[in-house]
């Protein structure tokens, strides 16, 4: 019970700490240390309390439900191996927290730093102890994210930004691969529980998906632990503050990858593929990392490549996969963390105190910083694998495995030599580090005067170096139990016997070590002078740089390829898009209809009526004429469109749809006026469009003609196919039977509109209102094209003689009084008749409205009629004249109409009936007789109001543009005049 609480605490504490840390004030450096250190210490204490329960291969676990329905549950599971890793996270975390207090400058925002650091620790802990492989991926990705944030801590620097981005992209990609691997693994095993997966190695390895799982899994592991060729993010990540490098990029996060390799080696390992890929990659990384490290002039760069190299070593061990190799791997994870963290911290101290990390500038620091120098030299020696230090021990184990373990491949045979070669390089770079930084004459041109750092900045290093020594001398006593429990956790009953003794005799590994030591020293002595001047990598690697490849790939991916693909498979041209829509739909419909028997033509000339055919001869002529003229003769096209619309309306009338005919005709009128209003702002096309007769243009037109004809034929044959077969049972029958009985009106169409399907009508008038508002809003800021601002040519041509002065005065007066001006005289007599039509049209509107429920007509038709009546008055005179006489607030009409319609519909709610339940009754009024009094009529009144408001608003909004542009002209003229005066 206690243990279960403790493991929960392990995860929760860092996250809580992170939240607390970010809320602290910017300057609370000490507070942050207390908080962070406290969290880490608490973690260590909890670990200590847990050790007994995980030591002999036992497991403590606890499950918290998250999304069990997709197999996501937060199973927390601590075993010896996880415990060992947690020790690193909390232990080194504790030291880093203290170290960072002195490392960061007062200008750095510490809450963000400690917040991210603790959150990272939390993610790392959760990853390590998650007993669900999916949740493991969750936190795996979170470590990438927090690592990203920490690398980008100093985001003012371009290097930090690049480093952070590269790290996130590479490790994030790996994480996605890992996710895929885990999903596949879970599928194969039938469970996402780590315990189940670990127990199902045989099933997994035998499954046909094994290669995929392995590949994706390794992609995840390799990217995280910076294996070649994914190693390049790690050196770039050195732009992070050094405590971050010490913590994440040597001790914890990069170890997640090798942790995973070791952890899953019982499941996925033991196959030739595993050996070749893992051991091969590991060895390549080991050697290349060491080689490049030798070339780096930057202290942290050297340490980064050294880290890569050591991670390669651990990977190689995991690849070998024998019991001994696993022991060595686990042991080296620990050892490397200890000496590398101390080295990073030392490098940070050097950087902090001298102002540079460039080894070519540094020299003789042992004089000014003797204690730090001593510490760093010991740690570096451990890095090189010098005997009596911790690094030596695990390296010897590796050598032993390389030499003693065999599987008969050439790689196996080459292993001892390759291992020795890598060791030679690592001795050389360690020497370079020691000699060039601490020995030689004191440097003279350093940015800062070097001296020992604050004591507490050095304490963490001291502690770590002490561990290096203690483990080096008394390995069994220091670390034996921990290591043993880790090994047991991974290998279980297969755990081998091993000895942690210092002296195993003068055996092959020792010989290899000594050879490496000697040859490494020689290599350093030969190479040292050249390295001072050389580039930061061997020439062949420079050309084959993974970083360059990555950068190029990113550039191609995010600029060239993507842009090219996007343009190739996308378009910004409307025509292409419209064509695609039409083509796709036509092709799809054709595909479904290809074997439709109903589409076969039959009875073509049944009911043929010559008059109807003649009428449509005119209609089709108009339609085609409009299509032909629309480009150069817009007005003609408009007139012809009217003709086609008229024939359409006549067709409605012909086939028993008087309501449709009425509506279509009136809408036709309004549309025509609208389009005419718009034509004012689309100047007459006097010139031919460039390239209009070119071959391409003609080809496009012809191609579209084919497409259009196909569509026409398709729709026509569909229409014919349906029309020539009698309908089955339709809902229309019910409407016809019940229009009067239930709906209380004889005009079934109108009853449908205002009662049976009034909801449609409500939506429809809303559309009308919306569109009107939009037109109005858009036109409020309408800016005409320059050539449209001018007065239309019809008005600039004056057929009347120029005005005399007196006449001009009268004209001005007339304008001021909003009387018709002299130009309006052209319309004088017609406009009288148009005014006569106003009362008539009002009567028409009332007529259409009142008849609606029983006969053709209705609220919509009445509304449009009323709007046309108003429109006619605008036509007859001009905007100012009308608006000084009639005040219309169309927006309010729309709003009120909608509310009225809704209100009518909602009335039924009060009586417990659903929305829009109508109540119809014929009321007998004295003198008048029976009058239909349906609530539907009230609803229709709302429709009427909206239609009037919307139609008028649209028309007026466009019409007002003439007024505005007149104002604009006046302003321009005034400006021109005032400029002339000047």
């Amino acid at each position: 019970m206690l243990a279960e609480t403790l493991i929960l605490l392990l995860v929760v504490l860092p996250f809580l700490g992170a939240i607390a840390a970010t809320t602290m004030p910017v300057s609370a450096r000490n507070g942050e240390v207390v908080l962070g250190g406290g969290v880490m210490l608490a973690g260590l204490v909890a670990l200590a309390a847990l050790f007994d329960q995980v030591s002999d291969g036992r497991v403590v676990s606890r499950t918290i439900e998250w999304v069990p329905s997709i197999g996501l549950d937060l199973t927390l599971r601590v075993d010896g191996f996880a415990w060992l890793m947690l020790l690193l996270v909390f232990g080194i975390g504790f030291l880093v927290v203290i170290y960072a207090r002195y490392y960061l400058s007062p200008a750095d925002p510490v809450p963000r730093f400690y917040g991210f650091l603790l959150a990272f620790a939390g993610a790392m802990v959760a990853m390590l102890i998650s007993g669900n492989i999916l949740v493991m991926v969750v936190f795996w990705e979170l470590t990438s994210v927090f690592s990203f944030l920490l690398i980008g801590y100093w985001h003012q620097s371009a290097g930090a930004r690049d480093g952070a981005r590269t790290a996130l992209i590479v490790t994030g990609t790996g994480g996605m691969a890992l996710l895929a691997a885990m999903i596949l693994l879970g599928q194969v095993v039938g469970s996402y529980r780590l315990d189940d997966v670990l127990a199902a190695g045989d099933i997994v390895r035998a499954h046909e998906w094994y290669p995929w799982i392995l590949g994706l899994f390794l992609l995840g592991a390799f990217t995280k632990s910076a294996q070649v060729p994914f190693h390049f993010w790690l050196p770039n990540a050195m732009a992070a503050p050094t405590p971050v490098s010490a913590y994440l990029h040597s001790a914890t996060m990069v170890k997640a990858g090798v942790y995973l390799l070791v952890r899953f080696s019982p499941v996925l390992g033991g196959t030739p593929a595993w050996f070749w890929i893992v051991a091969g990659t590991g060895m390549a990384t080991l050697i290349l990392g060491a080689l490049i490290a030798l070339y780096r002039n930057d202290l942290k760069g050297l340490l980064a490549y050294s880290t890569i190299s050591h991670l390669g070593l651990i990977t190689a061990l995991a690849g070998i996969g024998s019991g001994g190799a696993i022991v060595a791997a686990i042991f080296h994870i620990l050892n490397h963390a200890v000496f590398k963290a101390s080295l990073f911290m030392a490098a940070g101290i050097i950087d902090h105190e001298t102002g540079t990390r460039d080894m070519r500038r540094l020299s003789g620091l042992r004089h000014s910083m003797p204690r730090t120098s001593a510490l760093a030299i010991v740690a570096a020696a451990a890095m090189g694998g010098v005997p009596l230090l911790n690094g030596f021990l695990s390296k010897e184990m590796f050598f032993a495995e390389a030499a003693d373990w065999h599987n008969g491949t050439w790689l196996d045979t080459a292993l001892p030599y390759l291992a020795t070669l890598a060791s030679i390089f690592s001795i050389a770079y360690s020497l370079r580090f020691i000699v060039q930084v601490f020995f030689g004459p004191p440097a003279t041109d350093l940015p800062k005067e070097p001296h020992e750092p604050a004591a507490w900045m050095r304490r963490p290093v001291e502690l770590l170096v002490l561990l290096v020594l203690l483990v080096g001398f008394w390995p069994a006593a220091m670390i034996g139990a921990v290591l043993q429990s880790g090994v047991l956790a991974v290998l279980g009953v297969d755990a081998p016997y091993y000895s942690l003794a210092l002296w195993h005799g003068f055996n092959t590994p020792l010989k290899m070590s000594l050879t490496a030591l000697a040859l490494g020293t020689v290599l350093y002595l030969i190479a040292a002078p050249r390295l001072q001047r050389a580039n930061e990598a061997p020439a062949f690697l420079e050309r084959l740089s993974a970083q360059a490849l990555f950068d190029r790939l990113m550039l191609l991916l995010t600029r060239k390829w993507s842009l090219r693909l996007y343009r190739r498979f996308g378009t910004r041209h409307l025509q292409v898009q419209m064509r695609l829509v039409v083509l796709l739909v036509a092709a799809g419909a054709a595909a479904t209809l290809i074997d439709a028997t109903r589409m076969w033509p039959r009875g073509l000339f049944q009911n043929f009526d010559i008059t109807f055919a003649l009428m449509w001869l005119a209609g089709c002529g108009c339609a085609i004429g409009a299509a032909v003229q629309a480009k150069y003769h817009r007005f003609a096209a408009l007139a012809l469109l009217g003709g086609a619309g008229l024939v359409t309306a006549a067709t409605f009338a012909w086939f028993s749809a008087p309501d449709l005919a009425v509506t279509q005709l009136m809408v036709e009128v309004v549309t025509t006026v609208l389009l005419l209003l718009g034509l004012r702002w689309l100047p007459k096309r006097s010139q031919e469009i460039a390239g209009d007769r070119s071959y391409q243009a003609r080809a496009r037109r012809a191609q579209d003609l084919v497409i259009a004809s196909v569509c026409g034929v398709g729709v026509a044959s569909l229409a014919f196919a349906v029309m020539t077969v009698a309908p089955g049972l339709t809902i229309g029958d019910w409407f016809r039977r019940n229009a009067y009985a239930e709906g209380g009106g004889t005009n079934a169409v109108n009853v449908i509109l205002v009662d049976f399907r009034a909801f449609d009508t409500l939506g429809e008038i809303t559309v009308l209102g919306i569109v009107a508002l939009t037109c109005y809003a858009l036109l409020r800021r309408f800016r005409p094209a320059p050539e449209s601002v001018a007065l239309p040519s019809q008005q600039t041509f004056v057929e009347l003689p120029p005005l005399s002065a007196a006449e001009a005065e009268c004209e001005a007066e007339a304008k001021a009084s909003k009387e018709p001006t002299r130009h309006d005289v052209m319309m004088a007599i017609p406009s009288v008749i148009m005014q006569w039509m106003f009362p008539v049209a009002i009567a028409m509107s009332a007529y259409l409205f009142l008849r609606g429920h029983d006969l053709p007509g209705g609220g919509f038709a009445a509304g449009v009629a009323f709007a046309i009546a108003l429109l006619l008055q605008y036509l007859a005179t001009n905007v100012r004249w009308i608006e000084s006489r009639i005040t219309i607030l169309p927006v309010r009409w729309i709003g009120a109409g909608l509310l009225f319609a809704v209100g009518t519909g909602a009335g039924s709610l009060l009586f417990g009936y659903p929305f829009l339940t109508a109540h119809a009754q014929y009321v007998t009024i004295p003198l008048i007789g029976q009058v239909p009094a349906a609530t539907a009529l009230l609803f229709d009144l709302g429709v009427f109001a909206v239609v009037v408001g919307a139609t008028v608003l649209i028309q007026i909004a466009i019409a007002h543009q003439s007024l505005r542009s007149a104002r604009l002209r006046a302003r321009d003229e005034a400006e021109a005049l005032s400029q002339e005066e000047r």
Binding site: A618, F635, A639, E668, V669, L676, L791, S962
Partner: protein, 94 residues
């Protein structure tokens, strides 16, 4: 031949006449040559269509088409007048 039959034939012929008139008017609308010709053509089309509706109603024995005719007769001229005004003034509403 009964008067009813005669009337039936006359109505049919009348439809043919009116539709022919419609076609002729549409030819004027299509051919132009000038914009005012097209508008005249369209205006005539309106009249023909209206009369066609009346005659069709007579043939079908229904008075329900009358509203459509009424709308053309009362409000149809607004469209053509607007077009004419456009030709006259270059804008419909000043």
């Amino acid at each position: 031949m009964t008067p009813a039959l005669i009337l039936a034939w006359v109505l049919l012929l009348s439809q043919v006449c009116l539709v022919s008139a419609l076609v002729l008017a549409s030819m004027r609308a299509i051919r132009g040559p000038r914009a005012q010709d097209r508008v005249t053509g369209l205006d005539t089309m309106y009249v023909c269509a209206m009369l066609l509706m009346v005659v069709t109603g007579m043939r079908q024995g229904t008075h329900f088409l009358f509203e459509a005719a009424l709308v053309i007769g009362t409000l149809g001229f607004v469209a053509t007048t607007a077009m004419a005004k456009f030709l006259l003034r270059g804008e419909v509403i000043e």
